[in-house]
Amino acid sequence: MDRRIALASIVGMLGANIFAPLARAIAYQPNPVINTGAPEIVFTPAQRALVTALSERILPTSDTPGAIAAGVPEYIEHMLGDWAIADERATIFEGLAAIDTRSIADYGKPAVKASAAQQDALLTLAMNGELSGGAPFFEAFRQLVITGYYTSEIGITQEREYLPVPGEYDGAYPYAKVKRIFSS
């Protein structure tokens, strides 16, 4: 029996959440593949609903689609599931919990059921460091939303203008001719 098969036979004993280096050793391949399918589930349904609502408040629908249409909530779960380590996930989980706790105290309902204006008020408290763990949560969450949005198809091709093959370079292109700024 080679080592790869031997490792694979241990999987059943370890349960579902195999320590990452072991998981990679079992799935040995010279170039590990990055998950492009469904994200690993890291949120409870309630957390996911709140992440969805808050991401849309960060980057709302206007004359172009907002965060939800751009798939930002899925992107965030993907990043936290496949990308983040436990401490980084905790920053998000704790911030979501603090926002929910404050929402119940101030508005008598969980944040996901709060109005858009109330959600904005809760995010503002977090931003200003007036919730426990609020400031680091807001900074991390805002980065995730912005990155997810401006790297999405909607962010790249609708909110901004995408030049897949510019062909030419003009280093003095009139700003007046720019309708939407160019995606990088």
Partner: protein
């Protein structure tokens, strides 16, 4: 493939140097076997992320941090999911160093080597670069001078296509240029300001192995201004083995290319002083084979070539056949790196950039060109560019979203590449107590920067910020990170060229003192490293060595 004499030459490695060796040797009529440890990558069809937008790249182009740390640690965070397929997995292919003297050894894992992912900045060395060791009494003298290489620079430049502007600078000779990528309006302003504030210092067009005119005879199309070169370019707009030298070698009908073949060592006859075989392991099957040819071009990349040479030793001995004089593995160098400065360029807000250039502007070396009272030897140059990013308003919501629809100011950034001196005790060796998956002792690095390099980095930071401030930029920032050797990915030396067989490994034709039929034409040959990017010099030296080797073979001397 049986061990036969069906090949006139074996080329080990298929990157910048190996590809040139294969092209030149096959075009001169030799039957050539080119081997690479990496997997096959065919031009165009094996560039999975060529032309893809960010949303089509796994994880939107962000490498999972844990994976980068565990499996691609030499790249120190620079690997992305779009370039990962071209790089080796460090976890599965370890190397060795003592913790205080870390070395980031960046290695490719594909046919074409680093020619697929390189930075493409291309400069000639100057006469002063070749003379520096002798003039200063540092290291060992080069046995060649600028005039020995100049015609070969022209030869490779005309073939590959190098874009740039003529400047007539004695310390940075012009290449055979295609038109440069133009400066943008902010860079033109900076050029005028910087050159008037600092007489003698220049800000010039980037010199790049990206073509600005079509080369239809090579099926190559000029750069399309996408700025995604390191994913592979189906237009063939930048120099790579796949786009340029491999098609030429294949067209002769005399090339055999074998991927997935790890060369572990050379077999050697000390009596005849000849390399008698190349031992390789099939990476997929583990099958071992020794292939013979009249001559060998070792172009495996500087440190890998040293690894192969160090591991070429008599049975039962830990000492290489090529280690007779102690020079092998010593005086390993890299460029200084990790000094960056930036500032906002005022005005010109009515202009933006259209398209994405593959490079920007260059500030050539200005230190120690003449006798100067500075606390360090040699010098450095800056590579940079000006551009405008989206504004970054604070907060969240509609005001932020719409605020990000405006461009911010022009911002100029540049970073330094500087010359590291050759120190004989900066060396690589074998660690006989640890072996890789092919049974080869690991390559062990003992390389660190010394005072000269540290002082040069300090000076680059100080001068970089001074230049931007005096030119009139605002919000000038600068930083000097800890530079781990190897990070510039310009690791060189260890089998230097020299006059004296007692202190060097190669003669002035890249030919091993200890084996007339062995030529080493990658970065291992370097006796010093200048401050300019090295690949163009490897190409010219490879073409020159191949010409000499074939003449010697025809004369019956090899």
């Amino acid at each position: 493939m049986a061990a036969t004499d069906r090949f006139d030459a074996i080329v080990i490695g298929s990157g910048v140097s190996g590809g040139w060796a294969a092209k030149e040797l096959t075009e001169k009529g030799l039957r050539v076997l080119m081997v690479d440890r990496g997997r096959m990558v065919e031009h165009g069809e094996d560039y999975p992320f060529d032309g893809k937008s960010a949303y089509e790249i796994p994880a939107r182009g962000k490498m999972p941090a844990a994976l980068a740390k565990s499996d691609y640690f030499a790249l120190n965070g620079w690997v992305s999911p779009a370039t990962q397929p071209f790089f080796i997995n460090d976890r599965l292919n370890p190397y060795d160093y003592d913790a205080p003297n870390k070395f980031n050894w960046v290695r490719p894992s594909v046919v074409g080597g680093k020619s697929l992912t390189w930075g493409r900045w291309s400069f000639r060395w100057s006469q002063a670069d070749f003379e520096a060791n002798k003039r200063e009494g540092v290291g060992t003298d080069w046995p060649i001078r600028y005039d020995d290489v100049a015609p070969w620079y022209s030869y490779v430049e005309n073939y590959i296509g190098v874009s740039g502007g003529r400047e007539n600078l004695p310390y940075l000779p012009d290449s055979e240029f295609m038109p440069p990528f133009p400066m943008n309006v902010a860079e033109k302003w900076l050029k005028e300001r910087l050159e008037s504030e600092f007489p003698g210092r220049k800000l010039i067009n980037a010199r790049l192995s990206n073509i600005t005119e079509d080369k239809p005879e090579q099926n190559r199309t000029r750069c399309q201004k996408r700025a995604q070169c390191d994913r592979g370019c189906s237009f063939g707009a930048y120099f790579s083995t796949q786009a340029v030298t491999l098609p030429a070698a294949r067209a002769t009908g005399r090339l055999t290319l074998r991927s997935d073949s790890w060369v572990t060592n050379l077999e050697y006859d000390p009596a005849q002083k000849r390399v008698t075989g190349v031992r390789m392991v099939d990476a997929n099957t583990g099958q071992v084979e020794v292939v013979q040819a009249r001559m060998v071009f070792l172009c495996a990349s500087a440190m890998s070539s040293l690894h192969i040479l160090l591991n070429s030793r008599p049975a039962g001995s830990e000492r290489s056949y090529f280690h007779s004089n102690g020079a092998l593995g010593s005086a390993v160098m890299d460029h200084i790196f990790r000094v960056g400065v930036a500032g906002d360029i005022p005005g010109m807000s009515e202009f933006v950039e259209y398209g994405r250039r593959p490079g920007g502007v260059y500030v050539p070396r200005f230190r120690n060109l003449e006798a100067e009272d500075l606390p360090f030897k040699r010098g450095y140059g800056f590579q940079g560019a000006a551009g405008r990013q989206a504004s970054a308003p604070k907060g969240f919501g509609l005001s932020m979203k719409h605020g990000m629809r405006e461009y911010g100011p022009w911002r100029f950034t540049m970073s330094a590449f500087g010359e590291c001196l050759p120190y004989d005790d900066n060396r690589v060796m074998l660690n006989h107590s640890k072996t890789d998956r092919f049974g080869t002792p690991l390559l062990r690095f003992d390389v660190r920067f010394r005072d000269n390099e540290i002082r040069m980095m300090d000076d680059a930071l100080e001068q970089g910020m001074l230049m931007l401030r005096k030119a009139g930029l605002t919000n000038v920032t600068g930083g000097r990170g800890k530079h781990v050797p190897g990070e510039a990915i310009h690791e060189m030396g260890g089998a230097r060229m020299g006059h004296d067989p007692a202190t060097s490994v190669l003669n002035k034709w890249n030919q091993a003192h200890d084996a007339a039929n062995l030529f080493i034409t990658d970065g291992a040959q370097m006796a010093s490293v200048s401050c300019v990017n090295p690949s163009l010099t490897f190409m010219a030296m490879t073409a020159r060595a191949a010409d000499h080797a074939v003449k010697q073979m025809r004369a019956g001397l090899i």
